[in-house]
Symmetry: C2
Subunit: 144 residues, 2 copies
Amino acid sequence: MKLTANKIAGLLRQHGYKLTPQRWAVLNVISHRHDHLTPAAIYDRVSQEHPGIGLVTIYRTLEVLAELGLLCKVHVEGGCRSYLMRRPSVHHHHLICSGCGRVVDFTDCALNELEQRLSRETGFEMKDHLLELYGHCQNCQKIA
Amino acid sequence: MKLTANKIAGLLRQHGYKLTPQRWAVLNVISHRHDHLTPAAIYDRVSQEHPGIGLVTIYRTLEVLAELGLLCKVHVEGGCRSYLMRRPSVHHHHLICSGCGRVVDFTDCALNELEQRLSRETGFEMKDHLLELYGHCQNCQKIA
DNA sequence: AAATAATTGAAAATTATTTTCATTTAGACA
DNA sequence: TGTCTAAATGAAAATAATTTTCAATTATTT
């Protein structure tokens, strides 16, 4: 189920995007991690392999990859922008370690029933939801 | 259960804060609304009653009021900062109309079971969660 | 009424992100 | 393979949101 390099390449081309070394470098950094990263953090890491890349390019690349559904955004307290490779292709949510940023995906959010009840009670037509769980992973429990 | 002016005044003083006209003006705007407002929106409204107030003061007041637990933050897409008078004193969440910003509070988030299961499966120690539901209120359904 | 610590507003500073624009380049095609 | 063109890049400037600094003001305590 994992996205191969070829599939990503094809997906970009299908949408009229080019496959640049800079985009590969960004994908390369993000896809090997299980934690969420801000644009600035991605920039730092990509710069090591690809010095001279501009932070603007990171922003633009993240926008494109998110548009293609390859990335997930994570909210977390404070700043709102942090990204992560999208792993499940279906609707899912994130369990996030507040210590190290590691993210575990889960797919059953158990909100249907709640949404139906609230819809009945309030007359709202439900559209979407934002759900993130926070905790400490086993490793960070030891440290703390 | 509603917070009276006196209670708010006492709460501020207990924490060494002063009761200024500017703070009253901000509270006055927020407490009469059922939708969430950004600092800039609050500034606009407060300015009408209290011209000459600085946007900085809005930011500082919101920080103080949030620290005292009188306000809730709402996340919503895009910008991360939007505030709302805190109504239930207990743990609760928000159902938000994407049309008009109206917010309905609900207290049973039904996540305990999910959290327990994920904790068992992943070894994470659960700490907190972020949950917001989005939809359209009855009024906004008519309009759209 | 005086003393004092907190608060205010203006302006400057910071941070995050976006826009502009001239230059370069990936991919299509001759 | 070389040429062409639209897309992408990077530098710099622009924008937006928020925070800091600081001198002047004011709410509360005494």
